[in-house]
């Protein structure tokens, strides 16, 4: 397990460096782009005196560098401060938006796994067959459609043609869990479809490769059925190699959900992120960016750990 600890440490260092760089870039961007938080909050009808008073109250009159280092100091202690424009603690605001973003990511992941594995299994059995060709073509088309465009098409189809979906209707999980899931399924599908195509393409290739492997020939000579070989040998083998792909897909899914929730009008992290930018709310924006960076690093780390657990070659350090 020594290598696992080492890789965890490396990941941690990577994460801290990423977080530091990201916060520095965010801060630099805020220093360059025009816009004054206090003026945005009060609007054009407020007098210069009122804006000045609010600027003072929010501590915006201190030099930028000083504000950044203050923020950094507190962030190191785990205190991300309060949002300038909402007045609530940043952590509280982020966690209030998580049910949407995390829920969507999770459902999308389930779609990816549940659809791409069977598709790949079917295709890899007879590469070049009609079935394989038509599924592969469908995959290519899906892969080429960006999620936001797909979102608009699906919204039109499901709400205006079928009348079974209302864009923008969102029920918090605490109110009605079924309705909560229902409100997230379509957006999750929009995020998932291009990723399904990507995962499918990878899995298909790796399954074809494995199905030509020696162990499959051996299994065949022992008289195992094709189905048994697929379930017991080919899928588990490609699952290991696909974990890295899936962890990549997952961070894409989180990024995708930030965009798709705009189209579907859902109160998720993406909307909060946009609000933070348009209100020039540095603490809130840094908090969200930090959180997203952290999630990405954690996902990669988990992928490492899971690979190690299920693949003895990695676990024992036998892999390259």
């Amino acid at each position: 397990m020594g290598s696992a600890v080492r890789s965890a440490l490396i990941r941690l260092c990577e994460f801290l460096l990423t977080a530091l760089l990201v916060s520095f870039f965010t801060f630099s961007a805020f220093a360059i782009i025009p816009g004054d938080t206090a003026r945005v909050m009060l609007g054009p009808d407020a007098t210069e005196e009122q804006v000045e008073a609010l600027r003072e109250e929010l501590g915006l009159n201190a030099p930028l560098a000083e504000r950044y280092f203050d923020w950094l100091k507190n962030a190191c202690r785990g205190d991300f401060g309060k949002s300038l424009s909402f007045g609530n603690p940043v952590g509280e605001l982020i966690s209030s938006r998580l049910p949407v973003t995390l829920g969507m990511s999770l459902i999308a992941l389930i779609f990816v796994v549940a659809i791409s594995f069977p598709m790949a299994a079917v295709c890899s059995r007879n590469p070049g067959s009609i079935k394989d060709k038509s599924l592969s073509t469908a995959g290519h088309i899906l892969f080429a459609i960006p999620p936001f465009a797909l979102s608009m098409m699906l919204i039109l189809f499901f709400s205006k043609v079928l009348h079974i979906f209302t864009a923008g209707r969102y029920t918090p999980p605490s109110d009605n869990f079924g309705a909560y899931l229902a409100s997230l399924i379509l957006p999750s599908l929009c995020i998932a479809l291009p990723k399904i195509a990507m995962t499918f393409k990878f899995l298909r290739a790796s399954m074809i490769e494995f199905s030509q492997g020696d162990f499959v020939r051996t299994a065949k000579s022992h008289g195992l059925s094709d189905l048994r070989i697929m379930l017991k040998h080919i899928i588990p083998n490609s699952a290991v190699s696909s974990i890295t792909v899936i962890s990549l897909v997952l961070s894409d899914i989180m990024g995708g959900s930030l965009i798709v929730e705009q189209v579907f009008n859902l109160p998720g992290l993406g909307r909060l992120l946009l609000a933070a930018i348009s209100r020039r709310d540095f603490p809130l924006l840094s908090g969200i960016v930090f959180y997203l960076a952290m999630m990405t690093v954690i996902l990669y780390f988990l992928a490492d750990v899971i690979s190690a657990v299920i693949d003895p070659r990695i676990r024992d350090g036998r892999a390259s």
């Binding site: 782009i33 816009g35 004054d36 003026r39 609007g43 923008g168 009008n265």
Partner: protein, 506 residues
């Protein structure tokens, strides 16, 4: 590029204009005769996250319109824009307009049960005069001991009464008012949850025993107008103000009353008077003659707007000069003549900087650019985000032209005082010594008729100077589920829920 947009707007406008004119506009939802129904609740959709509840530090219109139901001042506006006695029953203004003596209403209690009296008035106005620029001219407030309070001003101001709508809060509550939110209004502040909304409940001990009707009012935060519209159609929201016409026509007229009223806002193509060629009055006049306001209103608001030729909306009443109506009716020949006189017979290039988050202003800019091309003016539209607009255009005045709405309270002085040469809000760098003098003298003038003629004189100067291309007072459109009645649109940012009631008991 803007040609495509233009066609899109035109197509949209044509389809919507018909349907909207059918859902015709009134300013109050139908009132039923007979006994009014008490009880029930209503949900109002808001698209802005509330922020500040201290009535003396609140600035955002979105906050003020909500706490109007919770706090009250000595005087209070009604939906016609008239000031009525509220916590005062009467006022006596000294002949030189430097002393206002208020007789206070008796038997009023705050939401916490404590008695309202002169000490609260003195305390609140003293605090407010330190925090609010419009009350800064208060020199002293005296409790006369006979349930009257006298306010003395350092500079006489005949239009001060509108500023006494400032909230009266319990004596000594300065440090807690932002959290306790105790006022005397028809509704009691119950709770606020960020991202969710504000709940108000009926004030059982309101001094006017007939009001309010509803037991509970919720101001629910919607992500944006479209999200709110869906909730309105789904029945989660009953009242949704500040709709655009294209959204309003989507609503079923059997379920919703669509109300509309001039909003007392001034939308214009503001021209930076310091920047060439707009430093030449002939160029500014030429642009005014080049524009067809009726067409722009039809395209951007489906006709739900009042054309403007000057810096004040006709909604403002007496202070507005109806002689100015139609002064700058479209006259392309006149516009070309003026441009030629100014040495721009071949036209010129200009940039209109618009905040991208306001679709109406972006569309107006597109329509304006198209109309201006008829006189050889080639306008490029630059969209910037709101924060950038505030910084670059409003604060730094680093722009050529912009489209925006200016709002103000229902006080003509607030509307025009920003055009004084040195005013912080004078975003167009307008400067006319005659106008400066009138703005300075207006508060010192007691006689109502004289003040009105001063306003009209001032508007005359501004029209002659073609300070900017004033376009329209866009109507404020509100949808109300017809299970409710009694809602009234105000010509300012106020959501008065005290008169709203259920239309029938089932």
């Amino acid at each position: 590029m803007h040609n495509g947009n233009w066609k899109k707007i035109l197509a949209g406008a044509l389809t919507l204009a018909l349907s909207f004119s059918a859902a015709a506009c009134s300013k109050e939802s139908d009132t039923t005769d007979g006994d009014a129904i008490y009880g029930g609740e209503a949900v109002v959709g808001i698209t802005q996250e509330p922020m500040v509840f201290d009535p003396h530090t609140v600035v955002a219109a979105g906050d003020r319109e909500i706490i109007f139901n919770v706090y009250e001042g000595l005087y209070k506006y009604d939906s016609t824009g008239t000031l009525n006695p509220c916590l005062a029953t009467d006022v006596a203004i000294s002949d030189d307009a430097s002393e206002y003596t208020f007789t206070l209403r008796e038997g009023v209690t705050f939401h916490d049960g404590s008695e309202f009296d002169a000490a609260d008035v003195v305390y609140s106005l003293e605090r407010a005069s330190e925090l609010l620029p419009e009350l800064a001219s208060i020199e002293s407030i005296t409790d006369n001991g006979d349930n009257t309070v006298t306010v003395t001003l350092s500079t006489p101001n005949s239009e001060m009464l509108s500023n006494f709508t400032t909230a009266i809060i319990p004596e000594g509550s300065a440090d807690t008012i932002g959290d306790t939110r105790i006022g005397t209004g028809p509704f009691v502040f119950d709770s606020y949850e960020p991202g969710i909304g504000i709940v108000l409940t009926r004030n059982e001990n309101y001094w006017n025993p007939e009001l309010p009707y509803l037991d509970k009012v919720t101001f629910k935060v919607c992500a944006d107008m479209d999200a709110g519209l869906l909730e309105l159609q789904g029945g989660a929201i009953d009242i949704f103000p500040y709709l655009t016409t294209d959204r309003a026509v989507q609503l079923d007229p059997n379920t919703f009353d669509i109300l509309s009223l001039g909003s007392n806002m001034v939308q214009a193509l503001f021209l930076n008077n310091d920047v060439a060629p707009f430093d030449d009055v002939r160029v500014r006049q030429a642009l005014n003659y080049a524009v067809d306001r009726g067409e722009i209103i039809a395209l951007t608001m489906d006709g739900a707007g009042e054309p403007l030729t000057t810096a004040m909306s006709p909604v403002m009443g007496e202070a507005y000069d109806t002689n100015l109506d139609g002064v700058y009716n479209q006259d392309i020949d006149r516009a070309l003549e003026l441009l030629a006189e100014a040495g721009y017979e071949d036209g010129f290039d200009m940039t209109i900087t618009v905040p991208s988050n306001y679709l109406v202003h972006v569309n107006t800019a597109v329509a304006l650019a198209d109309q201006l091309s008829a006189i050889g003016v080639n306008a490029t539209i630059e969209q910037v985000d709101w924060a950038t607009w505030l910084d670059r255009v409003y604060t730094d005045r680093d722009y050529e032209a912009t489209v925006i709405c200016l709002t103000s309270d229902y006080a003509p002085y607030d509307v025009i005082s920003r055009y004084a040469t040195n005013n912080d809000g004078n975003l167009i760098n307008y400067s006319n010594p005659n106008v400066d003098e009138i703005i300075e003298n207006l508060p010192l003038t007691i006689d109502e008729d004289e003040r009105i003629s001063m306003y009209r004189e001032l508007l005359g100067y501004m029209t002659e100077d073609a300070a900017s291309v004033y376009v329209q007072d866009p109507a404020n459109i509100c949808a109300v589920n017809n299970r409710l009645t009694g809602y009234a649109i105000y010509p300012m940012y106020i959501q008065d829920m005290s008169t709203v009631r259920l239309a029938s008991s089932n």
